[in-house]
């Protein structure tokens, strides 16, 4: 059997070492508890890290922040300016070929809902609704010819999130966690920050570890909520349990487990469990610290638009509330990667319920995209600036994506139907070549200009893995007879995007 793949049955010693991120040698629990003050000290970055054999390139980036716009954000109204639509606005649409529409969105041509203006040294045209990104546009690389495979929300979300349009495959963050391992014993390697309203199409399946070991699953965190991480602390039903009792519990448990393991010294799983309780105890201290903004200076909070804190907002979707929630996740993401979390996924928008709580603007682009894009642009721009001023931008790859694009023709007047035939992604940081636009779409933004060379999600994933130093064809896991990988049997690294 080829030595890159590992079967997923009972872990052998090597697997275990891999899981534990590079060796046992952990602190004894009692000693650790005694030195309570040291619990928050992060393990030195890169200490004792084992590399996956797929790590064959010098890494340019160490972390990924993925922003996922659920419901399908319109490339035409945000990033991909089409003067032709302005010119032909209101005229009957004519694609010059039969169009497979998802609903019935082949009304007249619909011009961008907002005006576009040039920004930065690169002069990139951006929509007014994402104007804050103009300040950082010279750091960004746009890909306008991304092509999907389906106009169905659930499948398209899976495709962008896991590389497969069927359920049952690990999320991109799980693969990165598996490929790069942990930089931090106190926090998970893959963190998911869902939309505050709820989960997007497919729910937790978008970040499940599937056949990869479960430590690579995304851990859901709801910043700012009463219980940001499930089961981090004893359930409130445990009235009899005080902190002292909880500490005594840990000590007694470690004691009993140590006696049990003493006669079974060959079983790495036993020691792994003992260690997992030590890590859990550390996480109890590290996670709240990572999630609290108390030590953030006022100018940083202001940059993100978080200086006013949470407010009582109107029931209707509104820009101020969107800004608060999206920015809260962006700032949390920065704090996470500073503490060694490898992959943070930020969601904007949840399911396809109604009233619209996501980007699926069939009826009215301005109504939904307006507030969502305003909040996203403010948060994302602040994050890019913040990372840059801390010198973290080169190590952090930001990947903005969505399910698919929207049609250049209208649907019911103010809305747009699904367009899986072309849409936009953008990348930033992680030594991505800033200020570039790669792979234009056609004059309508309906399909790629060069239909023979579209960009597929596999190419973007391959490129992201390359920036992390991983060869995408070698990052594999054998499952039911197949060496599975994030990029299936596809994927081409887009060299033009790499600085």
């Amino acid at each position: 059997m080829n030595n890159i793949s590992r079967s997923n049955d009972v872990p052998n010693r090597r697997d275990f070492l891999w899981q534990a991120g590079g060796g046992l040698g952990g602190l004894a629990l009692t000693a650790m508890l005694a030195r309570d003050g040291e619990l928050t000290a992060a393990v030195p970055i890169d200490a004792g890290l084992k590399t996956h054999p797929a790590q064959i390139y010098p890494p340019k980036a160490k972390y990924v922040i993925q922003m996922f716009m659920a419901g399908a954000a319109s490339h035409l109204d945000l990033f991909d300016f089409k003067p032709e639509l302005v010119k032909r606005h209101g005229q009957p649409s004519d694609f010059g070929e039969p169009v497979e529409a998802f609903q019935n969105g082949l009304g007249p041509w619909l011009k961008p809902i907002w005006d576009f203006k040039p920004y930065g040294d690169c002069g990139k045209m951006l929509s007014d609704v994402v104007a804050p990104l103009g300040d950082v546009v010279d750091e960004m690389a746009f890909v306008h010819n991304v092509v999907g495979k389906t106009g169905i929300h659930s499948q398209a979300t899976l495709l962008q999130a896991t590389g497969f349009q069927l359920p049952g495959f690990p999320g991109a963050g799980s693969w990165v966690s598996y490929g790069l391992g942990s930089l931090n014993d106190n926090l998970p390697t893959f963190v998911v920050l869902p939309d505050h309203r709820g989960l997007a199409s497919n729910g937790v399946k978008n970040w499940g570890s599937s056949f990869l070991p479960s430590q690579h699953a995304g851990t859901v965190i709801y910043p700012g909520s009463a219980t940001p991480i499930a089961s981090l602390f004893p359930h409130r039903a445990a009235t009899y349990l005080d902190p002292e009792g909880d500490a005594a519990t840990q000590i007694l448990l470690a004691n009993l487990n140590a006696r049990h393991a003493a006669t079974r010294s060959d079983d790495p799983r036993l020691n792994a469990r003992i260690r997992s309780y030590e890590l859990a105890a550390r996480m109890q201290t590290a996670a709240p610290e990572a999630l609290a903004f108390a030590d953030e200076p006022a100018h940083v909070l202001k940059l993100y638009g978080l200086d006013r804190g949470p407010q009582t907002w109107s029931k209707e979707i509104n820009a101020e509330e969107e800004t608060f929630h999206f920015s809260q996740k962006c700032l949390t993401a920065r704090r996470m990667i500073e503490r060694g979390v490898r992959f943070v996924q930020i969601w904007s928008g949840n399911d396809n319920g109604f009233p619209r709580r996501n980007w699926d603007s069939h009826e009215d682009v301005a109504r939904d995209h307006g507030p969502l894009a305003t909040g996203m642009a403010r948060g994302a721009a602040a994050l890019i600036q913040d990372l840059k001023q801390r010198g973290l931008l080169d190590e952090t790859l930001i990947l903005w994506t969505t399910e698919f694009g929207r049609m250049p023709s209208s649907q019911g007047g103010k809305g747009r139907d699904h367009n899986p035939y072309v849409f936009t992604n953008w990348l930033c940081g992680g030594r991505v070549r800033g200020g570039t636009t790669y792979g234009p779409s056609d004059e309508w933004g309906y399909k790629p200009l060069d239909r023979s060379r579209p960009t597929l999600v596999y190419d973007l994933h391959a490129t992201a893995l390359r920036l992390l130093g991983l060869e995408h064809t070698q990052l594999t896991w054998r499952h039911n007879g197949i060496d599975r990988r994030l990029t299936d049997v596809h994927g081409r690294v887009i060299e033009e995007l790499i600085a």
């Binding site: 709820g198 056949f211 409130r236 519990t249 007694l252 997992s276 550390r282 007879g481």
Partner: protein, 997 residues
């Protein structure tokens, strides 16, 4: 293991350009041909011609490829074939060994004589792939167990001893009695033995004591509950559609029950499989056989994808569905990843792309559906299932009454004292027709159209209708209430009262005689939210009828007639919203524009619109019945907080129990609803837009001993296809069928299979650690009449299973992975076993088998179905975890962290991972605290408040032993200080409970 090298397949029609002597025929057939097939033909064949070169025929060798002729007979030096071999260019990465070079060189020198037709690149196993000679594809050979030592308890041990002896390793001694009984319990029924069971067994001197326990466990219903879970993992059983809509399948529990029952009855395995593939065909009118086909529909189903407009996109979704099904069938029963051949010939196993489509054709008639079950069979099952549910419901209702009634009577008494009546609910619009068609509450005054008129306090509608201006507020949940007298009871399709969007594209309306004559139904655009309430027919037209339809937040629609429930409420596809400014009321029609024949001819006395779903009591009151209502708000204000929490939990449970009663009676099952199969074509590169040749249902020729040809035409009916597929798979000569299942059994008993990839017996899978044992077990299964329990009894009573799990340095050094089985490897409890064990320790486990599963979520439909996980409490939820409803997007975080698999993917072996989140979950989850509390209470009840006895009792129950001195010394002060429940929590988290030695 020894590789068999059979004769070349191509022995037919021998006539080639070169003259061939007898000796050379032999040499070509046995050496040169196989060598070329193995080393060269993989990349240079008729289909895949790398460099334009085909090396499977002499003629094409002579013609050559892009670089010219490959072969010049008698002149190796100028033959490109030879040049590339000598230069180590070919085969790439794996240069030919010397001996093989010599064969080729000599063959060319002899003039390259050829015999037979084209070489088959799939004939032989090579370094890169498996051929038809692959070990698992060969017929089962009769195996005589080797000689065994006196230690052996049955033939299994002989095979194990043979390998250990060869490796100069000794087996381990038998495990102690306590370990033995725990191991047997967990392995066979997934629950620990009680303290008394352990104590009795430890002192039992009967030499048959262990065997008796094994027999008892195999005969207990817990066996099926444990082993059905393994099967459900493999067939990726889920109880919702998955994908975007993820609709709940409220009756797929019947398949889960069928599996449990079949295993408990030890249904012959071939029968077990035949029924799952084709039960509906093999035994028409047999409810159980139809339920068994739930296997075919256990996977996800993409509702949006299947219903989208684009036919091309829809075809892709259907092909994906078929691939999932072919993959599941191939891997589950045959350990073959047939699904890998959808776009091209299998890269590693001898399965042609055509064969993938032949198997796809065999399953092409399979569609998901909810077929009707014979009523009598359902009623018979329901009788047994209903009583325990009803009993719990009664107990729960009486507890609810206990909580509520004092407050209720107090409220009513106070009201009476003040001379007040129950308040009638307040509508948002009301039309009494006393003052024209004005809205007496808001501004939705009606505009009378097409000759409708108001007279003597009534709205008269002959062919006309009445319509309101747009509503200024958004309307979601609602109640439509109306008093009506139809003019003609035999009229059809008449709209009465409802709300529509301004352009008429969306509406909800009370309609008459649309679904069936003389009955009321909830009309909706395209019938999307319409189902038959099955209420009674209208018989007389003398009186006004009071009708009220409620539209709940969660999508439920209920109807009432004269204040009483009308027929049965149902879950619609979801609540529809009418946006502010885009909704209006219509009376006398369903939607506008409206054809006159779609208008109800009637008189309307009053009509009211509410912006919420009224309760049954409110409707009764509004209909003029004499009821007293105490509102939820009034009650909630009086009931103390602790009881309110209990009440909320009880009402949640009550809703489920009521639904469970309906589900028990529901004569449907989520199973196969076959359709006439669409034509199956080989799809070039798997693309539905590029169909090539038409194929008939058939198997793969790679399985020795069974004919791949089903003898079916390309247009054969579904029934024939599935029957033949089932016969082909379960044929005793099928080399894989028995091997794969005995290996699964071994896998679950030992943690690792003899083949460590239970779903893949192909090139990419593992090789058997004990090939003869595997074949002997497979043969034994067939000889026993396919009895799984027979095989399991052999396994569990063998000396190898009964070995100690203690590590031994000498053996570990040589075989750390324990593939030779010099000891029994400890196994970690699975997620379900852990939960069930905690429940049993708490004395809370409800052993009731079968029936609708419990929900640990609340759910509602709003276009898609949503599931909010809930911290559930109550006896309904204290059943074994297999009775949890397995919704694809409603995952239990505690089960998940213990590697409970995703029901969207086939899971032949579960991962065993260890993470901090797992530790946090088992420490801090509310379920753990609750079970620890209950366990502690149980122990206190058993032994009183003596600390020492409490600690000892906790150890006896959980670990089957008493604590040693050091443990007592650590635990007793801990209990003293933090309580007994805190100790229970510690033990629940301990490795000794979690790992079974």
């Amino acid at each position: 293991m020894a590789l068999r090298i059979p004769l070349l397949v191509a022995l037919a029609l021998a006539s080639t350009a070169a003259a061939v002597g007898a000796a050379e025929v032999d040499s070509f057939a046995t050496t040169v041909g196989p060598l070329l097939a193995k080393r060269c033909a993989g990349c240079h064949n008729g289909v895949e011609k790398n460099g334009g070169l085909d090396l499977t025929r002499r003629e094409t060798m002579l013609t050559g490829g892009d670089s010219g002729a490959a072969l010049v007979p008698q002149q190796a030096d100028v033959s490109l074939l030879w040049q590339r071999i000598v230069a180590d260019d070919m085969p790439p990465k794996n240069p030919l060994p010397k001996a093989e070079r010599a064969v080729i060189e000599a063959w060319i020198a002899r003039g390259a004589p050829w015999q037979g037709g084209a070489l088959d690149p799939l004939a032989h196993t090579s370094e890169q792939r498996a051929g038809y000679d692959w070990w698992s594809l060969q017929t089962l050979q009769p195996i005589v167990p080797p000689k065994s030592s006196p230690r052996a308890r049955n033939p299994i041990d002989a095979f194990i001893e043979q390998k250990l002896t060869a490796a100069k390793l000794a087996p381990s001694p038998e495990a102690d009695r306590r370990t033995l009984i725990r191991r047997a319990y967990f392995s066979l029924i997934g629950l620990p033995p009680t303290a008394d069971d352990v104590a009795a067994f430890v002192v039992d001197s009967d030499p048959q004591a262990y065997d008796k326990i094994v027999d008892r466990l195999l005969a207990s219903s817990g066996y099926g509950e444990r082993w059905a879970r393994h099967w459900l993992d493999v067939v990726r059983f889920g109880e919702s559609q998955g994908f975007e809509r993820d609709r709940l399948r409220t009756n797929s529990w019947r398949y889960r029950d069928w599996v449990i029952e079949a295993l408990n009855r030890d249904m012959p395995y071939d029968e077990f499989v035949r029924l799952q593939l084709a039960g509906d065909v093999l035994r028409p009118n047999d409810a159980d056989a139809l339920i068994a086909t739930g296997f075919l529909t256990a996977g996800p189903w993409d509702e949006v994808g299947q219903k989208q407009q684009s036919a091309a996109m829809k075809a892709v979704v259907r092909q994906d569905e078929i691939e999932d099904l072919v993959g599941t069938v191939g891997q589950t029963f045959l350990g073959l990843t047939v699904n890998c051949a959808r776009c091209h010939d299998h890269k590693f196993d001898p399965i042609r792309q055509t064969e993938y489509y032949q198997l796809a054709a065999a399953l092409a008639g399979v569609h998901h559906g909810e077929p009707q079950l014979p009523a009598a069979a359902v009623a018979k099952k329901a009788a047994a299932l209903r009583e325990p549910i009803a009993a719990r419901l009664r107990a729960l209702e009486s507890r609810l009454a206990e909580i509520e009634s004092p407050h209720r009577s107090k409220i009513l008494a106070e009201r009476k004292e003040k001379g007040k009546k129950s308040a009638v609910p307040q509508p948002i619009a009301a039309w009494d027709f006393q003052n024209g068609a004005r809205d007496s509450i808001g501004d939705l005054h009606l505009d009378l159209k097409d000759g409708s008129y108001v007279r003597i306090g009534m709205l008269h509608l002959a062919d006309g209708y009445a319509v309101s201006p747009p509503m200024s507020k958004r309307l979601g949940a609602k109640t439509l209430e109306v008093w009506v007298q139809p003019l003609d009871l035999n009229q059809r399709d008449g709209g009465l009262f409802g709300v529509q969007s301004l352009n008429g594209s969306k509406f909800d309306a009370i309609v008459y005689a649309e679904q069936s004559p003389r009955r009321w139904s909830a009309g909706s655009n395209g019938g999307r939210r319409t189902q038959d309430f099955q209420g009674p027919e209208e018989t007389t037209r003398s009186d006004f009828v009071h009708l009220a339809f409620t539209y709940d937040e969660d999508g439920k629609i209920a109807a009432y007639r004269n204040g009483r429930p009308y027929g049965k409420p149902y879950q619609s596809s979801g609540l529809t919203f009418f946006d502010e400014g885009n909704g209006q009321v219509i009376i006398g029609a369903r939607q506008l524009p409206s054809a006159p024949e779609r208008r109800l001819r009637c008189a309307v006395d009053r009509a009211r619109l509410y912006d919420r779903a009224l309760t049954p009591d409110e409707i009764a009151l509004s209909a003029g019945l004499d009821v007293d209502i105490v509102s939820e708000a009034e009650l909630a204000a009086r009931i103390p907080a602790a009881e309110l929490t209990e009440r909320s939990s009880l009402t949640f449970e009550r809703t489920q129990l009521r639904e469970a009663l309906e589900r028990v009676a529901d004569a449907k099952v989520y199973a196969v609803a076959p359709q006439s199969p669409a034509k199956t074509f080989v799809l070039h590169r798997g693309n539905p837009g590029d169909p090539r040749e038409l194929v008939a249902a058939a198997g793969t020729v790679s399985l020795k001993g069974v004919a791949a040809d089903f003898g079916l035409k390309t247009d054969a009916p579904d029934a024939d296809r599935r029957r033949r597929l089932a016969e082909w798979i379960t044929e005793p000569r099928n080399p894989l069928f028995a091997r794969v299942i005995v290996n699964r059994l071994w896998h679950y008993h030992f943690g690792v299979g003899l083949v460590d990839t239970p779903n893949d017996f192909g090139f990419n899978g593992g090789r058997p650690s004990h090939p003869e044992l595997l074949d002997w077990l497979a043969g034994e299964l067939i000889r026993s009449g396919w009895s799984l329990k027979h095989i399991q009894r052999l396994i569990v009573t063998s000396a190898v299973f009964r070995q100690s799990s203690q590590p031994r340095a000498d053996a570990a050094q040589q075989d750390a992975g324990n593939r030779l089985l010099w000891r029994k490897s400890p196994q970690r409890l699975e997620a379900e076993t852990l939960r069930d064990t905690l429940l049993q320790l708490a004395g809370a486990l409800d052993p009731r088998p079968f029936g609708p599963g419990f929900y640990d979520f609340s759910t509602y439909v709003r276009n898609s179905q949503f599931y909010d996980m809930r911290d559930v409490e109550g006896p309904t939820f204290d059943r074994r975890t297999i009775y949890r409803t397995w919704v694809r997007s409603a995952r239990s975080s505690m089960l998940d962290v213990f590697d409970c698999p995703d029901p969207s993917t086939k899971t032949p072996q579960r991962a065993v991972t260890t993470t901090p989140l797992q530790a946090l979950s088992l420490l801090n989850n509310s379920f753990v605290f609750r079970t620890a509390d209950r366990f502690a209470a149980r122990v206190e009840q058993e032994v009183g408040d003596d600390r020492q006895r409490q600690v000892a009792q906790v150890f006896r129950h959980t670990l089957g032993r008493t604590p040693d001195e050091a443990e007592s010394a650590a635990c007793e002060p801990f209990v003293e200080q933090h309580g007994l429940a805190a100790l229970c929590r510690v033990i629940f988290n301990g490795n000794e409970l979690l790992f079974v030695d």
